[in-house]
């Protein structure tokens, strides 16, 4: 069904919440090892799309195909084990666990389904090494033993990236990774996203910061009121009249 070079194919996905049509017949293809951006005004359905891809809830109609496999109805824990990792728009840390333990939770994706291994100790030499390497990569190694809830938001966001990478994902979904970050923090997060892509991971990100989108993304899709109104390179998108209209309104 799907061409092999597309890691993620979304076909005619619609989602209705009671009376609200959050997504209407959205179709997308994301190629391997690219950074794909999703933009749109508030309430356009970007996070809904992420939730459907990651399995938080199924769409009302349509299909989600990941690596040629239909994952439309799979719950979040299953899609995670297949290799889809995500971060959240509002940080979702395990507040009373150390930063290291937060990352280790992600390392356990192969263990949680196996009853025989659940009783074994989690903090082995190997697991600790892998998690510390990830924390090193996001620049949080010296905070490994701090309780996650005590870190500032910018650092918790980085921790979420490290935690998501602990799944050894093929696809990483970043939901507004730069929200609430200062200019410097945004810069270093962008570097991090580049580094992640270098390792062969495909990145799909929702972002409001147009600077980030223009600099980082290979391709961008624009949603407005649940409908995909445009798709193309960042530069094509920036001059597309439909996009300008969605953001700035129609010229009188």
């Amino acid at each position: 069904m799907a061409e092999t070079h597309d890691i993620l194919v979304i076909e005619h996905v619609s989602k209705q919440f009671y009376g609200v049509q959050a997504l209407r017949d959205v179709s997308l293809r994301v190629g391997r090892a690219m950074i794909f951006g999703i933009v749109g005004p508030n309430g356009a359905g970007k996070t809904t799309l992420f939730n459907i891809v990651s399995g938080a809830y199924p769409p009302t109609s349509g299909f989600v195909i990941f690596e040629g496999k239909d994952i439309t109805q799979l719950p979040a824990a299953e899609t995670a084990r297949l290799g889809i990792a995500r971060t959240f728009q509002i940080v979702h840390s395990f507040r009373n666990m150390t930063v290291l333990d937060n990352v280790i939770v992600g390392c356990g994706h192969r263990v949680y389904g196996k009853v025989s291994r659940l009783a074994s100790e989690y903090k082995t030499y190997e697991i600790r090494g892998k998690s510390m390497a990830l924390l090193q990569m996001v620049g949080l190694a010296e905070h490994a033993d701090t309780l996650a809830g005590k870190l500032p938001i910018a650092q918790q966001r980085r921790m979420e990236v490290a935690r998501a990478l602990a799944l050894d994902p093929k696809l990483l979904l970043l939901d507004e990774p730069c929200a609430g970050l200062t200019y410097g923090e945004t810069e270093s997060l962008m570097d991090l996203v580049y580094k992640v892509r270098e390792t062969g991971v495909t990145v799909v990100m929702v972002e409001h910061n147009m600077g980030v989108i223009m600099n980082l993304c290979d391709e961008v899709a624009v949603l407005d009121f649940g409908v995909k109104i445009a798709q193309g390179s960042p530069h094509e998108i920036a001059i597309d009249p439909r996009v300008i209209e969605a953001y700035l309104g129609k010229e009188a």
């Binding site: 938080a56 979040a76 824990a77 995670a80 995500r86 979702h92 009373n96 356990g108 949680y112 989690y122």
Partner: protein
């Protein structure tokens, strides 16, 4: 003898609080009906003893296992409920279980079950201090299991589900199965506590396992510090002993528990010695200050 009785009672509540700490503290599933499982354990053990003649030493682990099985079934309900609706449902479960015991002839009806045999070894009936030793051994086993749990993948997943279920799922944790596991483990503690209670009292009545008992257990867990084993131990010790130490308080036990719950929620939501509580944070600051010079001279970093 009096001291042994008090110690045994406190010990039984310690088992109950440790179990509730696994369900509510680690896994975040608020249960206001923990006494129901205390009752299920007690009735299981009593019936095994009175009707089937099973000796205490077999009835005790069986009560734990059977209660865990029932706990897992009722825990399965919790996977569809969250927060306040779960809390209210567990209260309901408590009342239903008590009613079943109270109005079913098989469970002795309003009279309860009497004539439960006190445990014996080779014909020697245990004295109270010897029974206390059995209780202490059960607690030690419970502590050992808890420590192993916290260091295991299972324990890590339970805490992840308790602190942020959505994030846990996004990291591959099938949260429903882990919640059921938490209920099974936590109610197993309650089942063992029930068995210890039944064979110590030799007479049980459904009223012993009502909603007020559930509130006592959660008060102990919250007072000590929900989510930590040390909190469960200290909370059950402090609130279990207080009415004995301050004798006039006995009649105001529920008033005291209720007032303490309100005060703790207002001023120390992490409990007396839980993570983030005033005492525990100060203790850590002091330890840091004591060890800091050493770390610097050692050139660590």
């Amino acid at each position: 003898m009096y001291y042994a009785t008090v110690a045994i009672t406190v010990g039984i509540f310690m088992m109950l609080t440790m179990g509730l700490n696994i369900i509510t503290g680690y896994t975040g599933q608020v249960s206001l009906g923990h006494a129901a499982f205390f009752g299920i354990g007690a009735y299981t053990s009593a019936l095994l003893s009175v009707k089937a003649g099973v000796p205490f030493w077999f009835a005790l682990p069986l009560a734990g296992l059977i209660t865990a099985a029932i706990g897992a079934i009722l825990g399965a309900i919790s996977t569809r409920l969250h927060d306040d609706s779960l809390a209210i449902t567990t209260i309901g479960i408590n009342f239903v279980v008590v009613s079943v015991f109270q109005y079913t002839q098989f469970f002795g009806g309003a009279l309860g079950i009497g004539g439960i045999r006190y445990p014996s070894v080779f014909g020697h009936t245990l004295t109270k201090p010897e029974y206390l030793l059995v209780v202490v051994l059960c607690i030690l086993l419970g502590i050992w299991f808890d420590r192993r749990l916290v260091r295991s993948w299972l324990g890590l997943a339970l805490r992840a589900v308790g602190q942020n279920e959505e994030a846990a799922q996004s990291l591959g944790v099938p949260s429903a199965r882990f919640k059921i596991a938490a209920f099974a483990i936590g109610t197993a503690y309650a089942g063992v506590a029930g068995s210890l209670y039944a064979h110590f009292m030799t007479f049980i009545n459904a009223r012993d396992f009502g909603f007020p008992t559930s509130i006592s257990i959660i008060s102990m867990a919250v007072f000590g510090g929900l989510g930590t084993l040390r909190g469960a131990i200290l909370g059950s010790l402090a609130l279990g002993l207080a009415p004995e130490v301050f004798r006039p308080l006995v009649n105001y036990r529920n008033l005291m528990y209720g007032a303490l719950l309100v005060l703790m929620m207002r001023f120390q939501p992490s409990g007396l010695i839980g993570d983030g509580s005033f005492i525990w944070e100060s203790r850590q600051r002091v330890t840091l200050r004591l060890y800091k010079p050493k770390a610097v001279s050692g050139g660590e970093k």
